[in-house]
Symmetry: C2
Subunit: 199 residues, 2 copies
Amino acid sequence: MTQSNKDIDALIEMMAKLPGLGPRSARRAVLHMIKKRSLLMMPLADTLQTVAATARECLNCGNIGTTDICDICESEKRATGEICVVEDVADLWAMERGQVFKGRYHVLGGTLSALDAIGPDELRIPKLLDRVTSEGVTEVILALNATIDGQTTAHYIADQLEARQIAVTSLAQGVPIGGELDYLDDGTISAALKARKAI
Amino acid sequence: MTQSNKDIDALIEMMAKLPGLGPRSARRAVLHMIKKRSLLMMPLADTLQTVAATARECLNCGNIGTTDICDICESEKRATGEICVVEDVADLWAMERGQVFKGRYHVLGGTLSALDAIGPDELRIPKLLDRVTSEGVTEVILALNATIDGQTTAHYIADQLEARQIAVTSLAQGVPIGGELDYLDDGTISAALKARKAI
Ligand SMILES: [Zn+2]
Ligand SMILES: [Zn+2]
């Protein structure tokens, strides 16, 4: 593939499988790492070994961590009675970067999809219903993507929770902070208009 | 940064330093690796360790390999008396993918640059002149980038080799195979026109 060194070729081939990288950017990344061997490549190799050996899904919420129960589920500070339901771990990370939500999470691992034959049992929905009882939850916030499958899933979960004496909410839809109207899709604009507030 | 797991955060931070990746694509890459732990993450960690421990510049030509003298310099098959001079290892790899050149390489490690105070001794130019004698070279092919610094460097090397009884050549300039004229810069088109051939 490059110059007949099999380890370097294998490294490039594996790097090229990462999302966002292709053969060309994988080659550039590998050359960059080799140039920064002690500052970047060696620490990266060590950390990758550590994470590869220890990363696992939290048995309670589906978050990724290095222990059976993740730090968020372990933390007493986050036992607020609020659970934020997300599709995947990337969404959980996005919520955490917002630094506003102080409760716990529940990672579904996808959305319901008739097309892909994904029903409630393929997701972590039964576990969510268990947790609502066992953790004394008072509010479930559905932070699912504003896609058809995401919204179908949100409605299904809301239905399941209807009989319980808890609040079921979802994230507000509207114009992103700093968002320019001209760049937004029509659905966002009409949702923001319907949800307009007095100022 | 993400969700309070320090190893995963450190891994994302290091991945985000690779060229072509940023924080967002680094997060996606790490989640992808964790999902493909045994198929991708573990082999990648192992190969990264191996390359980090063994990668080095060839003492003869500057190519990157895992031995003091690289496979190309070691190979008797490539003792053709031709040396192809390139700016960096990425260019050597690009030439090898072409699968046409059968000689050896010399990686300069950059170009001459008055602005950046890079003179001949900062590059591998003295070593190139040594090799021309010691390896009985009959042709030096200057495969430098078609930039001002690349062409300045090519002329400097050609001057140094002038007194010797060898051919000094450079890659042909013209329209890339499959290239559409409409997408080429003017310099390429005029160079291709000047170098036009009877068909
Ligand atoms: Zn958890
Ligand atoms: Zn070499």
